[in-house]
């Protein structure tokens, strides 16, 4: 995986070629935070075809969404959102290609949690007026005309994403930053490359984990299907002992 500085250098270089770029700090900007109500199942609706004001991404150019974690939170500009490209009100065309990278600073985050959030982060039902349209594994955002007329900007979308990640991972996040790109093919190709690399790394990690689990259970005749094992009740008790021991160890340290 490319390191954060390499990515920043690449983005800085793209700023020189872009007609526009913007940087926001969410903490210093209450308007961004208060623009929309965000949360799980805040909105159950869908957007009818005639009510769609804009699509970010499409079936041909799906969203590129990648989350990366760093142990060193100080390298992340906490609460910063950077956009390379024009903001929503200035987009001249209906054709859009959109992607973002989310950097999370955390020493506690497990790779399984990261994989889960990467899979599940979706704007559908999390905010009124934005729907994440799915096509197989690909997706793109549909934004209602009404929301655009109310003045939705990329800063709001960035904040929604930050908020959803923070809600999912709770206290484990020490810093979070988002880089977004709209209609910059060079930068979006780069984002896509980073996404592929992170996905391959994640698959390798997952495969290694499975390999480890298999190594631990050599005398299991049930192909690791604990749910059908007669000893499951006892194993649950042993897990309880392990939990209790871990608490004791933590307290004694």
């Amino acid at each position: 995986m490319a390191n954060l500085q390499e990515i920043r250098d690449f983005v800085e270089e793209r700023k020189l070629h872009s007609s526009s770029y913007s940087v926001w700090n969410v903490k210093k900007n209450p308007e961004i935070r208060n623009f929309l109500k965000i949360g799980n199942r805040v909105w159950d609706g869908i957007i009818l075809e005639e009510d769609v004001g804009l699509e970010l991404g499409s079936k041909e150019y799906p969203l590129i969404k990648t989350i990366m974690t760093l142990n060193d939170s100080s390298a992340i500009h906490d609460s910063r959102i950077t956009l390379i490209g024009e903001d929503l009100e200035n987009l001249q065309t209906n054709y859009t290609r959109f992607g973002f990278l989310i950097f999370i600073g955390s020493t506690e985050l497990k790779s399984s949690e990261l994989r889960q959030i990467q899979r599940n982060i979706s704007l559908t039902h999390s905010v009124e007026g934005i729907f994440e349209k799915q096509f197989g594994r690909h997706s793109w955002y549909q934004i209602s005309r009404n929301l655009l007329e109310r003045g939705l900007k990329f800063s709001h979308i960035g904040y929604i994403l930050m908020n959803l990640v923070e809600q999912s991972l709770n206290h484990k996040i020490e810093a979070i930053e988002i880089l977004m790109a709209i209609n910059d093919d060079v930068l979006l190709d780069y984002f896509e490359e980073l996404h592929k690399i992170s996905r391959i790394e994640s698959i390798h990690q997952f495969q290694n984990k499975i390999k480890e689990i298999q190594k631990l259970r050599l005398d299991c005749d049930l192909q690791n299907e604990c749910n059908v094992c007669d000893n499951k009740g006892i194993c649950d008790q042993i897990r309880d002992i392990i939990t209790k021991r871990n608490v004791i160890r933590r307290e004694s340290q």
């Binding site: 480890e212 190594k215 008790q237 042993i238 021991r245």
Partner: protein, 257 residues
């Protein structure tokens, strides 16, 4: 005496001399100034424990059995009590002498996987062994025991074989399964009880295993006599051919020039 080999496991077909090799390796390590932890991980018979003239009824398997027994009662209080005491129970099952410590894995007594127990024991053992500069494991051929209850990471895996092609075949299968069961940094083959030169077929079979030969230990008549008489191997002098050869292997593993 810094080195990157801290955990050594000795394995091979039954009868190839794993236990005596482990014993002599440990003896030399002690001479070098180590205070090693020796792990007798042979589940069928605790040969190393016998060779060291030690005896204990507290083995890791007996601890495992106790954990499963307590868990079967399903009482909160008992669970809490065991959680508080388990680390000490495992530590107490280690025999400490003036020159080494010994941990005996013991014979499996409980049928079933009970994988959380293995994870718990591995956790505790991993914590306990942090205090040792050198850990030498006398393992069974299968390696399952090591991984299941001791640790998944080993610095050096030594596979022993003698002059029989059957032991070479076992060494081959161990080398193949090592990747499946454990993580190791180095792997090496030792030809033990060597008599004369290798014939072409033997050489070919050894070559097929594809791992380096890290030493050859000649057949030692004096050692054999002591074994036949059931006498302590402490009587084996430094000039013994087996001792000399094993020292050489140990030097390569443990001493940094």
């Amino acid at each position: 005496m810094k080195h990157d080999i801290r955990i050594v496991a000795v394995t091979g077909k039954g009868g190839t001399g794993k236990t005596i090799f482990t014993y002599l390796l440990a003896r030399y390590a002690i001479e070098l100034g180590y205070y090693p932890l020796l792990i007798d991980a042979d589940p069928t018979m605790s040969h190393l424990t016998h060779l060291l003239e030690q005896k204990s009824d507290r083995t890791i398997e007996s601890v495992r059995k106790d954990i499963i027994q307590v868990a079967s009662q399903k009482t909160e209080d008992q669970n809490q009590k065991l959680a508080e005491e388990i680390d000490t129970i495992v530590e107490k099952s280690i025999i400490d002498t003036s020159t080494y410590s010994l941990l005996i894995m013991g014979q499996p007594e409980t049928k079933g996987c009970f994988c959380p127990t293995n994870s718990l024991l591995r956790n505790i053992i991993s914590a306990v062994i942090q205090d040792y500069d050198l850990i030498i494991i006398d393992a069974e051929a299968g390696l399952e025991q090591i991984h299941r209850q001791v640790m998944g990471d080993i610095d050096c895996l030594i596979i022993l074989c003698d002059f029989s092609l059957r032991s070479v075949a076992t060494a081959n299968s161990i080398a193949n399964s090592a990747n499946k069961f454990i993580n190791f940094k180095k792997i090496g083959l030792v030809i033990n009880k060597k008599m004369g030169d290798f014939n072409a077929k033997f050489k070919e079979n050894i070559k097929q295993i594809g791992i380096p030969i890290i030493g050859e230990v000649p057949f030692d008549e004096k050692l054999m006599k002591l074994e036949q008489m059931g006498e302590s191997l402490d009587k084996l002098k430094d000039k013994s051919v087996a001792v000399k050869a094993i020292k050489k292997i140990a030097q390569n593993l443990l001493v940094t020039n």
